[in-house]
């Protein structure tokens, strides 16, 4: 009886949360994006790029090959986007204050977090379903093989994608319930985990001697299908290249072959379900740090310093108003000096200072010390790999500060007050953007001073273009999406691909000779202007 009651609670928490999410207009946009991405995954011959290529060939677009393509995307990329999409289930209950009502019911913490995990997973399953439908449609559209074999197509996509999505959904709940991982730091940690799992999965499944993929029980489940493909290609031509790539461009393409597909035997399915079991354990682990919406547990963070303890006591003391003596004089409207004329002109400098103050107030001394340390290290550490990591750290350090841009007024419910002033967007947003730029310039002073001292006349302006670009990206994403997750996801990917992997077009600070030769600083400057304009348009739209 208790088990039935528990199941009922879990299912209702998941169901209500799912309804709340899928009834939002934004969810249709997410589904439409998934469908559009599905269209791009299956390019026609001559499109200039291929998705999943082995050597110089790709499989013919039949159910087996298209299933593999969509399965890989679902296992490798959807979990990252999915995490940022669903990491708001607990936060929504906190903001709507429904959480405090739930906390007064007999619902236990494990029941609540498992319900939220299932809701997260259900949202991702909706997207996976849309992608599966699109996979079938694209096979018929490209018409290289019009025999639709759902028994081959569907299991490949789902058994590859579902376990990874389950883990992503569980980590979203775990991170939301863990105070230190609730914000930007959690998003950075997740991206690092995602990259680590990807790199470890790839490295672990490649045989060092042969260079071929060997079948393993990897999280993303790409080793077994890839091994099957490589074996088939080598059986047909032992000299054939089997170097694989997910998205390939360029002329190295000679034709197609028919892949026999991959059989999802019971043992392999059970192995995949073990990952779902791990996801359940992760979700249950979220019950340990979960504060059950107790605001008293929210405020006093573990106090590492006496200063923090003093600050907490001071904050708690302010809930009570200072006692007023009974005979204290009462000020009336008579003390107000009438203003001579209405203020019609803005005060750009005043707004900039105020935005900067707002942005930096509340940052811990540790944050300032870290920024200073990074700047000094940039000046002192010799060039090389360490300098590259330092450069990345300099650009990641102010992430939490930039993340607030364009989202703060919604988060703290000050929108109505702010939009009732003259020219609300034009007075505030450029100042807010400039405040973000100042943060970039000050926090990254070590990096650009080093460039200046070394006489890097081409790289120095490119660095400042980066300092203009990142806050513009944060502002536009914040205004349009309303939360910081979209900016964080895009920015972290840009940092990884542009700054670490050195993709010239994505290096927004123009740190590579190739990027400079391509004129990327000019491109990013133009993008920056576009993003600031987009933010202003977005703010005006939100107001209407």
């Amino acid at each position: 009886m208790n088990a039935v009651r528990t199941l009922r609670r879990v299912s209702h928490i998941a169901y209500a949360d799912l309804l709340e999410r899928i009834r939002r207009p934004g969810f249709l946009i997410v589904l439409a994006s998934a469908v559009f991405a599905g269209y791009l995954f299956v390019p026609p011959v001559g499109a200039g790029y291929r998705v999943v290529q082995v050597g110089t060939q790709r499989g013919i677009y039949d159910s087996a090959w298209i299933g593999l393509m969509f399965g890989l995307i679902a296992a490798l990329h959807l979990p990252l986007a999915g995490f940022f999409l669903v990491k708001n289930a607990v936060e929504r209950d906190r903001q709507t204050r429904v959480g405090q009502i739930i906390a007064t019911t007999p619902t236990s913490k494990p029941v609540y977090v498992v319900g939220k995990w299932l809701s997260n997973l259900a949202v991702l399953v909706f997207i996976l379903s849309a992608m599966t439908a699109m996979a079938a449609v694209m096979q018929l559209v490209r018409a290289e093989d019009t025999t639709l074999r759902l028994g081959t197509l569907v299991p490949t996509i789902w058994w590859m994608g579902l376990p990874v999505l389950a883990i992503s959904a569980a980590l979203a709940v775990l991170f939301e319930c863990t105070p230190a991982l609730r914000g930007s730091l959690g998003n950075v940690v997740f991206v690092l985990l995602w990259l680590g799992a990807l790199i470890a999965g790839l490295a672990g499944s490649i045989d060092e001697k042969t260079g071929l993929v060997r079948p393993a029980a990897d999280l993303h489940s790409f080793s077994r299908p890839m091994d099957s493909i490589q074996q088939q290609v080598l059986a047909a031509d032992p000299q054939a290249s089997v170097r694989s790539g997910l998205v390939m461009a360029g002329p190295d393409f000679e034709g197609t072959f028919v892949w026999d597909g991959f059989s999802w035997k019971v043992g392999i399915v059970l192995e995949r379900l073990r990952w779902v079991g791990l996801a359940l354990v992760l979700a249950l682990a979220a019950a340990i740090p979960f504060d059950r919406f107790d605001p008293a547990r929210l405020r006093p963070q573990p106090e590492r310093t006496g200063r923090q303890a003093r600050r907490r006591r001071k904050l708690e003391a302010t809930r009570h108003e200072p006692e007023r003596p009974a005979d204290a004089p009462v000020a009336t409207a008579a003390v107000l000096t009438p203003l001579a004329a209405p203020a019609r002109r803005g005060r750009p400098l005043g707004v900039l200072v105020a935005e900067l103050k707002l942005m930096l107030k509340g940052q811990s001394p540790f944050w300032y010390a870290g920024a200073l340390g990074l700047s000094l290290a940039c000046l002192l550490v010799p060039a090389g790999r360490a300098q590259q990591y330092l450069s990345l750290a300099v650009w990641l350090w102010p992430l939490a500060v930039w993340s607030q841009m364009g989202t703060r007024e919604r988060r703290f419910n000050t929108e109505q007050i702010l939009f009732a002033v003259p020219r609300p967007s034009l007075r505030r947003l450029p100042a807010l953007w400039l405040a973000g730029v100042l943060v970039a310039v000050v926090a990254g002073s070590g990096a650009w001073l080093r460039l200046a001292l070394m006489g890097e006349t081409a790289s120095l302006p490119a660095w400042f273009v980066g300092a203009l670009f990142v806050p513009a990206l944060a502002l536009a994403a914040g205004v349009w999406v309303g939360n910081s997750r979209a900016f964080e996801a895009v920015y972290l990917l840009l940092c990884y691909l542009g700054l670490m992997e050195g993709v010239p077009a994505l290096n927004f600070v123009g740190a590579s000779a190739e990027g400079l030769a391509m004129g990327m600083p000019v491109v990013y400057l133009a993008i920056t202007a576009g993003l600031v304009a987009l933010a202003i348009v977005g703010a005006n739209r939100r107001k209407g």
Binding site: L315, A333, F412
Partner: protein, 294 residues
């Protein structure tokens, strides 16, 4: 100085009319906008504060359409929304300085004004404390202060006394009375006593429509001779409630003393009494308009 609301309607996305064909002309003074929850008060307030655009109709401030040219009004507007937040890591002075900069007030003027306003809203002693530690009533007073920063010609306050203790409520009502004069004050509430003393005009709103707009005296005259008091045995109370608009009840040793608003004498022994504003509100806003039901 005038604010003209001309046939304004607002249709929400769920296809529900938040406001329907609402017209009103406002001159300097205090308008009390009174209606039940969900009547459309906040929708009207947001339209007048240039936050929301009307679906139909137009609003003009001194002859200028506020949808097409909102900035003229915004320069002289003070707005306190019903539900608003503050930045928890700023103190009251820093928050008001931020708002003053956005409103375009020059530094020295802003500092003097903030100082005066903090005295008026009784937050001088707490001015340097972080807003995150303020109680609900204290935050509400910070909201009132920000609305008055630019010495507004049009002051719109939506349920301003929510969260204030009785002493602060009285203080705020007095402040509004003191402020009226050469400005238009619109005060929205569902508590009649909030507007009773201060309002020069009262607009009654129900289901998005203006029911009646008049001076408090005229509203009271409208229910003259329609307010009755008498005592009934307790068991008859339920049936009585179905027939008449009961505005208050008080238990006596011989039954329940009832006050009802109704067009004719409701029961033998009922005595006509002088009306209160709450009786007028109930009479005009209730669907049955006080007519006795069979």
């Amino acid at each position: 100085m005038n604010l003209v609301i001309d046939s304004v309607s607002k249709l929400y996305r769920g296809k529900a009319w938040g406001l329907k064909d609402f017209s009103l002309t406002l001159e300097p003074g205090i308008l009390g906008l009174v209606g039940p929850n969900g009547a459309g008060k906040s929708t009207l307030m947001r339209i007048l504060a240039t936050i929301t655009k009307p679906t139909e109709g137009q609003v003009t401030w001194n002859g200028v359409n506020i949808v097409q040219s909102p900035d003229g009004l915004r320069a002289v507007l003070g707005y306190l929304p019903q539900d608003f937040g503050v930045y928890p890591n700023l103190n009251a002075v820093e928050f008001l300085e931020y708002m003053a900069a956005l409103k375009g007030l020059a530094g020295p003027t802003a500092r003097r004004r903030i100082d005066e306003l903090l005295q008026v809203v009784n937050l001088m002693d707490a001015r340097k404390r972080l807003l995150g530690g303020y109680s609900g009533g204290m935050k509400q007073r910070v909201g009132i202060a920000q609305a008055l920063l630019n010495d507004p010609r049009l002051l719109i306050v939506d349920e301003p006394t929510a969260g204030l203790d009785p002493e602060e409520r009285v203080r705020f009502r007095n402040l509004l009375s003191d402020l009226s004069g050469e400005r238009i004050v619109i005060l929205s509430t569902h508590i009649v006593s909030d507007v009773e003393a201060a309002a020069t005009q009262i607009a009654l709103i129900r289901q998005g429509r203006l029911v009646r707009c008049d001076t408090p005296e005229a509203l009271l005259r409208g229910v003259e001779g329609k307010v009755w008091e008498w005592t009934v045995p307790s068991p008859e109370l339920t049936a009585l409630r179905e027939r008449h608009l009961i505005s208050s009840m008080i238990r006596h040793s011989d039954g329940v003393g009832v006050r009802a608003v109704t067009d004719g004498m409701p029961a033998p022994g009922a005595v006509a009494v002088p009306p209160r504003l709450e009786d007028a509100y109930l009479y005009f806003v209730s669907n049955g308009r006080g007519e006795a039901r069979p």
